[in-house]
């Protein structure tokens, strides 16, 4: 087993990987950018190294800097987390050339998964159903238009080198095709350095389900599906397992298909095969060649530490579990807590977190990258924490999630918790009737009026200031010098709360 592991990531995932490394007796070496000098993930590591400026291209996305850090820190392996360099075959190859073990799939399998057309072709070759579409880059608008009329509108343009929902563009009518084609090519070029597009039939009201697979050199294990239909701009917001729509027989077909598909491309380590579920049938969507954001829900229902298995596979120690031994219990749901304001069209909300309190209790897990006082920088993705609950069944998991959302307090930046609060009261969601455009179709964010309990206190203070005539007396109260002592304010608080004592006799300072 490795003795020293470099974790080439930041935020909650870096912390989560370090936790498992520590349990395995492996020293974790973290990296950070200038913007992350005081970031929480530094505290989770045994050692950390500064690798560059705040801009991702100069730090977390910079292959040279990360390899240099690995050399300086004398590590044996690199865990890439998700995002950043995790699905970059050049990085995986360079790790190998430098004598480092990359904790992830072999570069060839990763390159094939990342090329959407190649992945589609190879899955189809294995008898995996694929959505109707083309298996080559579109050469012109005319070609796109011919194919679109053959398979029928709506269609979806996808970037060959795409990922993370970027570069996808839905076209409902022939008249929209030409401009959508040019726009999507521009987006693909800007984001992936490759303008190539292909297209597929767009499936209305489809569900997104995916199967987590672990493969070592001998064996493979496919896990119960995760449903990730609650999305915004093709990005997942809520994931759950098992899917409320998948029957036992469909489940075993999904798992078989995913395992077969990954084996066929020589895949090793953790990977996920995504499918669209439509009218009771499933079609291949894409392969995610990395540990996924939503992996904790699988861990909750199976008790398997996926990062531990990843590290064992990479070290050549093999899987600790087999398909036959795998059991699952109950239902798990994850909410992605992003620093975005759902009332203002999910506008990014970076800044300083001035107050922070996580929900606790049985069946509640929070994978977080922040604490009170943390800075959420504007340079990276908006995920600050993942709220995960586990319960005996879906209904109880929903109740547990509602309670946990209300108990999750993040002040100083806006988060999408108010959106989650509304979603978990939405009847279609509660019934398990999910589809990938439900957030927009049901106007869940558009109907939000309140940001929740903390901001209601803000509103109450504002109302009291105006009603009592205080606000009209002009800006600012005397600062710093408190007009009341802590003792007297505690006494008043107790009186307000209905207590009879000025200071509770049991209180200790």
């Amino acid at each position: 087993m490795f003795r020293r592991l470099l974790i080439a990531n930041r935020g909650e995932i870096a912390i989560r990987v370090a936790r498992t490394a520590r349990e395995m007796g492996i020293r974790s070496i973290g990296v950070y950018s200038e913007a992350d000098r005081s970031a929480l993930h530094r505290n989770a590591m045994d050692e950390t190294l500064m690798i560059g400026s705040a801009l991702p291209a100069d730090s977390y996305l910079n292959i040279e800097r990360i390899l240099e850090a690995a050399r300086v820190a004398r590590v044996e392996a690199i865990h890439p987390g998700y995002g950043f360099l995790s699905e970059n075959p050049t990085f995986a190859t360079r790790c190998g050339e430098a004598g480092l073990v990359f904790v992830g799939p072999p570069p060839d399998a990763m390159a094939l998964s990342g090329d959407k057309i190649a992945a589609r072709k190879s899955m189809a070759g294995q008898g995996v159903p694929v959505t109707r579409g083309v298996d080559r880059p579109l050469r012109s608008v005319d070609e796109a238009s011919t194919i679109a009329s053959e398979i029928g509108y709506p269609v979806l343009f996808k970037a060959t080198a795409g990922g993370g929902g970027i570069g996808m563009s839905r076209v409902d009518r022939p008249a929209e095709l030409a401009s959508a084609f040019e726009l999507a090519r521009g987006v693909a070029l800007a984001n992936f350095g490759n303008p190539d597009l292909f297209l597929e039939k767009y499936l209305r009201r489809a569900r997104h389900v995916e199967v987590q697979v672990l493969l070592d050199s001998r064996d493979a294990v496919g896990f119960v599906e995760r449903e990730c239909s609650v999305q915004r701009r093709h990005q997942k917001l809520v994931e759950e397992t098992p899917s409320p729509a998948v029957t036992r027989s469909l489940r075993s077909r999904l798992i078989d298909t995913a395992v077969r598909g990954l084996r066929a491309i020589g895949y090793r380590n953790a990977g996920t095969v995504e499918f669209l579920l439509h009218d009771g049938r499933f079609t291949f969507n894409e392969v995610n060649a990395r540990l996924q954001v939503e992996h904790p829900i699988t861990e909750m229902v199976t008790g398997v530490d996926l990062v531990r298995q990843q590290i064992r596979i990479a070290a050549g120690d093999g899987l600790e579990i087999s398909q036959a031994e795998l059991t699952r219990h109950g239902h798990a749901i994850e909410c992605r807590v992003n620093a975005e304001d759902p009332i203002r069209n999910f506008l990014p909300s970076p800044g300083r977190i001035v107050g922070y309190r996580e929900p606790t209790g049985p069946g509640v897990r929070v994978d977080s990258g922040v604490a009170a006082g943390s800075l959420v920088p504007p340079y990276y993705d908006p995920l600050v924490a993942k709220l995960v609950v586990h319960a005996p069944n879906r209904r109880q998991a929903i109740e547990r999630m509602r309670r946990s959302i209300d108990a999750f307090e993040v002040r100083g930046v806006q988060t999408n918790l108010p959106f989650h609060r509304a979603l978990f009261r939405q009847s279609e969601f509660v019934k398990g009737n999910l589809w990938t455009t439900m957030v927009v179709d049901l106007r869940i964010a558009g109907r939000l009026r309140s940001r929740g309990p903390w901001e209601e206190r803000f509103a109450a203070i504002a109302a009291a200031l105006v009603a009592s005539g205080r606000a009209a007396r002009g800006p600012t109260f005397p600062l710093a010098r408190p007009s009341v002592t802590r003792w007297s304010s505690v006494g008043r608080r107790e009186r307000l709360a209905g207590g009879g004592h000025a200071v509770s006799p049991r209180r200790r300072w």
Binding site: I461, L465, S483
Partner: protein
């Protein structure tokens, strides 16, 4: 009445208007209806189904969950935010502010540029998302206050526009 309120180090732009015997409180896009009742040494505020009892004492507000440090930062009885309300007359020079903290990835205009309402002045990027800041009305750019590559805070002046005719908001 509009003011900027600081509670425990967190600041918000707040607008309070009388409404049906109570108030509507708008906080950066969210809105709350509140009714208040003044008692001898406390104020009861009802928001939705909840009633919060609070006491104002110097720069502190004492609520059921603890003592909060409260500060009124700015105060105005007139609207100041051109983007959101109150049209300004022709010839008025209005400041355009950033909607979010982020990096300036593009400055689309220069002093002297003629702009139309809705035209992009500056593009900000934060957390892998781009946000375009539009002109609030037809006019001439008088000043551009940011440079490409610069990092700005929320609510910072990015440009000033001299309006040619009232914006239609």
């Amino acid at each position: 009445m509009r003011f900027r309120l600081d509670v425990d180090g967190e600041q918000r732009n707040i607008e309070v208007e009388p409404f049906a015997g109570g108030f509507v409180i708008r906080i950066e896009g969210a809105s709350y209806r509140a009714r208040t009742r003044l008692a001898k040494d406390s104020v009861d505020v009802r928001i939705g189904a909840k009633t919060l009892r609070l006491q104002l004492e110097g720069n502190e507000a004492i609520l059921d969950d603890g003592v909060h440090h409260v500060r009124l930062v700015e105060l105005s009885t007139e609207g100041t935010d051109v983007l959101e309300s109150h049209p300004a007359g022709p010839g008025a020079v209005v400041d355009v502010r950033s909607s979010m903290p982020g990096r300036v990835v593009r400055v689309a205009v220069a002093p002297g540029s003629l702009v139309e309402r809705g035209e992009t002045l500056v593009v900000l990027e934060a957390m892998k998302m781009q946000n375009e800041i539009p002109a609030p009305g037809d006019g001439v750019v008088r000043q551009v206050a940011v440079r490409e590559g610069e990092t700005v805070t929320a609510d910072r002046v990015v440009a000033s526009i001299e309006l040619r005719r009232p914006s239609a908001s």
